[in-house]
Amino acid sequence: MRGPARETVKQGRRVRRLAHLLDRWLLPLYALLAVSYLALPVLVMILFSFNDPSGRSNISWRGFSLESWFDPLGQPGLAEAVTTSLAVALFATLAATVLGVLIGLALVRHRFRGRSSINLLIFLPMSTPEIVLGVSLLTLFLASTQYAFVPEGTFFPLGFHTILIAHIMFNISYVVVTMRARLQGFPRHLEEAAMDLGANEWTTFWRVTFPLILPGVMAAALLAFSLSIDDYVITVFTSGQATTFPLYIYGSQQRGIPVQVNVVGTIIFLVAVGMVVLSTLLQRWQRPDPVEAVEVEGART
């Protein structure tokens, strides 16, 4: 009996040592490698924004230069493309956030028939590949010219408005899902208290509900904005001749990538990072939990 038992103990020790090794060294190393893998292309993109712009296409290193940083939009069409992207992202975010927040409120705060169907409808666009979303919208636009009840020129020629339609569509689901996650545990009693104290629906919404859901709305809007500004696949099917920044990148990949594309890419990256850092700092600086914050506020007054 003693032999095997000692074996087991020994084995156990070996396993534990191995586990320790894994935990202490291999896991951090692995994580570091994985994070580097994620970061590498971003670093290359940033590096190539400092490339000497004398060449035709920004694909090989020619030497350090700040030239493109001083003239980030100095390529024909680039300024228009960036403007279009920003405008699409802005309007799509606004519209999708309003529509999505309303759905989110309904789902979290109300009980009604057909709730599972609604849940399914929210889920479906997210589980449909982007290319199918783009194609199905394109078929709608194509077929619309055959339908008499669609006024001519509603969709065709494709352009800014059809990109916007598409972006609002794919963003709604993401807004709803983000909102729902943030709205769980919503303090209904605060609203009721407000109304019991004589506030009407409108006042209650803007003074109580909205401040409470604002962090969730902001998170959802940020997600929508970042999805919209980077979308290529759905946009390529719905854009016609309008060019967004991703379409511009794709086009220049075929005819020579100007260094400025990397500069704009880097600026977008830095702005996004800045916003995340800022919101993190704000959250730390403010009280950690808005719900709690409101309750504390309420107790004080």
Binding site: P28, A106, I122, V135, F237
Partner: protein, 288 residues
């Protein structure tokens, strides 16, 4: 009492109406329209007619079965790879991240803030035959001169893996993060070994994350065409490339629509089977 408070259900429907109507017009209906377009015959120039040409389905499937299989294969391998890379990463962040947790999470999300196309193009620069990675190795004779990464299936799979790694890592992290530490302590108290603890406690509790992560990775991977286009060769074209070309290069709308419809149907059926087998209610938002 106001009308809204007296009629909570009606209020709910009012709140839902605009958004749901939007999705009905611009998501549900176009899906039906896509199906109808697949049954058209004709040409762009001469116009199309709805002829209920169902024959296009077997025809398109037969002609592009290779592309479908490739999408399935690349998507599956890429999903597996994102799991193999993402799980240890998420595990490390959740349990060993310490004060670097936020920073690490940020690094996982950071690529999202960079254009998807620019990142993919960066890989093309990094892995060019004489590029940053392979050039020096070849110069040192560590790799044969003809060795290449881009324009191979491996490059396409690597590109997809890279692009969707955060989609796998984040849900895994969320799931792992939720595991109460005392549960693991309890397991230890009950003499569960490291491996047992991992297999019996951590893994099952991470399952919702695995489920969400695989879906978030596999679905877009199946429909992807950008990686195959930028990093692949004519032999690593996926079904997305065909659909894109049918619509935007040869104006063969019916075939393109049929292929899209098959892709969508296959994915939805797959998702629901998967949901039944592994899934949780959380998938569709559950019943909150």
């Amino acid at each position: 009492m106001s009308w809204f408070r007296r009629h909570p259900t009606a209020t709910a429907y009012l709140l839902l109406a605009p958004g749901i109507a939007y999705l009905a017009i611009f998501y549900l209906y176009p899906t039906l329209q896509m199906f109808l377009v697949s049954l058209w015959t004709g040409t762009v120039e001469a116009g199309y007619q709805l002829t209920f040409n169902f024959g296009i389905y077997p025809q398109a499937l037969a002609q592009y079965s290779d592309h479908f299989l490739r999408s399935l294969l690349y998507g599956a391998i890429a999903t597996l790879l994102t799991f193999l890379i993402g799980f240890p990463l998420a595990y490390f962040i959740a349990f060993r991240g310490g004060r670097y947790k936020s920073l690490l999470l940020f690094l996982v999300i950071a690529p999202f803030f960079t254009s998807f196309l620019l990142r993919t193009l960066s890989w093309r620069i990094i892995f060019a035959d004489q590029g940053l990675a392979l050039g020096p190795l070849k110069d040192l004779d560590l790799l044969p001169e003809e060795f290449r990464l881009t324009a191979t299936p491996s490059a396409v799979i690597a590109g997809i893996t890279y692009n969707f790694l955060p989609f796998m890592t984040l849900p895994l992290y969320v799931a792992l993060e939720r595991i109460p530490p005392n549960l693991l302590e309890a397991a230890e108290d009950l003499y569960a070994g490291t491996w047992q603890r991992f297999r019996r406690v951590t893994l099952p509790l991470a399952l919702p994350g695995v489920f969400a992560g695989t879906l978030l990775t596999f679905i877009p991977a199946m429909g992807d065409f950008v990686n195959a286009e930028l990093l692949g060769s004519p032999q690593s074209q996926m079904i997305g490339n065909v659909i894109q070309a049918r619509f935007l290069r040869v104006s063969d709308y019916p075939t393109g629509a049929a292929l899209s419809f098959i892709l969508m149907a296959a994915i939805l059926v797959g998702v629901f089977i998967y949901a039944r087998v592994v899934g949780t209610e959380e998938l569709t938002g559950g019943t909150s």
